[in-house]
C-alpha cells in the first residue's frame, strides 16, 4: 500500500499466518537486540546471584524467552533494561525456590524474627516500640581494600540467605541502584510493597552482618 491509495480505500486484512510470521520476526529481532545490548548486565546479575555459570546461562535464556513471549506487554513505563532485569529477578527467585526446596532444611532463609542484635533481647524493640539494645559499631572499612572486600563478601552471603523475592529486590535496588519506581514496575510491586520488602530485607541484612562481624554487644558486658 502506498500513500496515494487514499483514505477511502479498504485496507486488506493480513492473513493470520502472515501476521504471526511478522510478529515472530519482530520478536527475534528484538531478542537479538536485547542480547546485544543487555546480555552482559543480565549475565552479570544472574552470575552474581547464583555464582554458577550453568544456572546463570539458564536464567538468561529463560529471561530472553519469557521476554519474547511477553513482547507486547512491555509498556515502556520502565526502561527496557529494567524490564528485562525484572524478568531475570523473577527467574532467579524461581531458581532459588527450586534449590531451597531441594536442599531444605539445610539452607534456611534468614528468619524474620532474627532481627535482634543482642543476646538477651527477643527482638529489635521492646513492647513499647523502643530499642531493646543499641547495636555495636561496625568495623571501619575505609582504610583497607581487603577489609572492604571481606565485608562485601559477608553482605553477599547474607543476601543469599534472604527469602527469594527480597534478595532480588535488594540486588536491583541497593546493588544495581535502579530507581525505586522502576523496580516497582519491573517486579510488579506497589510503592508500599517495595518499601516494606526493602525494609524487611535491610533489617535482616543488618542483623546478619552484625552476627558475621562478630561484634555482638551483650547486655551487661
Amino acid at each position: 500500500m502506498t500513500e496515494s491509495d487514499g483514505p477511502s480505500r479498504v485496507i486488506p486484512v493480513a492473513k493470520p499466518a502472515l501476521v504471526a510470521s511478522r510478529t515472530s520476526d519482530a520478536r527475534e529481532i528484538a531478542a537479538r537486540r536485547w542480547i546485544a545490548e543487555h546480555g552482559d548486565i543480565l549475565w552479570k546479575f544472574a552470575l552474581a546471584r547464583t555464582r554458577s555459570k550453568e544456572a546463570a546461562e539458564e536464567i538468561v535464556q529463560e529471561t530472553v524467552l519469557a521476554a519474547m513471549q511477553g513482547f507486547e506487554t512491555f509498556s515502556g513505563g520502565s526502561t527496557e533494561r529494567t524490564w528485562l532485569l525484572g524478568i531475570a529477578a523473577h527467574k532467579i527467585a524461581d531458581h532459588f525456590r527450586r534449590v531451597r526446596r531441594a536442599k531444605s532444611p539445610r539452607s534456611p532463609a534468614i528468619s524474620p524474627d532474627a532481627t535482634c542484635v543482642c543476646a538477651t533481647c527477643r527482638g529489635m524493640f521492646t513492647e513499647k516500640g523502643m530499642w531493646a539494645c543499641v547495636a555495636s559499631k561496625w568495623p571501619d572499612n575505609s582504610q583497607s581494600e581487603a577489609e572492604t572486600a571481606e565485608q562485601a563478601e559477608a553482605l553477599r552471603a547474607c543476601i543469599d540467605k534472604l527469602p527469594p523475592g527480597q534478595s532480588e529486590a535488594v540486588w536491583l535496588r541497593d546493588i544495581l541502584g535502579i530507581p525505586a519506581a522502576e523496580v516497582c514496575k519491573a517486579m510488579g510491586l506497589t510503592d508500599t510493597n517495595l518499601w516494606s520488602r526493602m525494609h524487611r530485607a535491610r533489617v535482616a541484612l543488618r542483623s546478619c552482618l552484625e552476627n558475621k562481624f562478630g561484634l555482638r554487644k551483650e547486655k551487661g558486658q
Binding site: 535464556q61 524493640f125 530499642w131 539494645c133 547495636a135 561496625w138 572492604t148 546493588i175 541484612l205 552482618l209
Partner: protein, 95 residues
C-alpha cells in the same frame, strides 16, 4: 509551614520501631521536609536510631562495592551468546 510543623511533630511523637521504617523508606522515596527534619532531630538524642542509620549507610556502601565487583566481571561469554541466539531462533521457528 503548618504542614512542615505537623509532619515534624508526628515524627517526633513516633516510637523507634516506626522511625526505622522511615529511615529505610528515605532510601527509596523522599520524605516530606517536616518528616526528614523530625528524623534529624530525633537522632540527636537517640543512640539506637543513630546506629541504625549508620548501619544502613554502611550497607549501602558495601552494596556499591558489590556493584563494582559485578561490573568488572566479564560479560556474557561468547559460547553462551551463541547458544542463546540458537535458542532464540528455535523459539521463533516453533511459533
Amino acid at each position: 509551614m503548618i504542614r512542615f510543623v505537623r509532619d515534624m511533630m508526628r515524627v517526633l511523637g513516633m516510637r523507634c520501631r516506626e522511625h526505622v521504617v522511615l529511615f529505610s523508606r528515605q532510601l527509596d522515596a523522599p520524605l516530606s521536609p517536616g518528616e526528614a527534619f523530625g528524623l534529624r532531630v530525633h537522632i540527636v538524642y537517640c543512640g539506637g536510631c543513630r546506629r541504625f542509620r549508620e548501619h544502613l549507610r554502611h550497607l549501602q556502601s558495601l552494596g556499591q562495592t558489590l556493584a563494582l565487583q559485578a561490573e568488572i566481571e566479564p560479560g556474557l561469554p561468547e559460547d553462551v551468546r551463541e547458544r542463546l541466539h540458537a535458542r532464540v531462533v528455535q523459539a521463533t521457528n516453533k511459533n
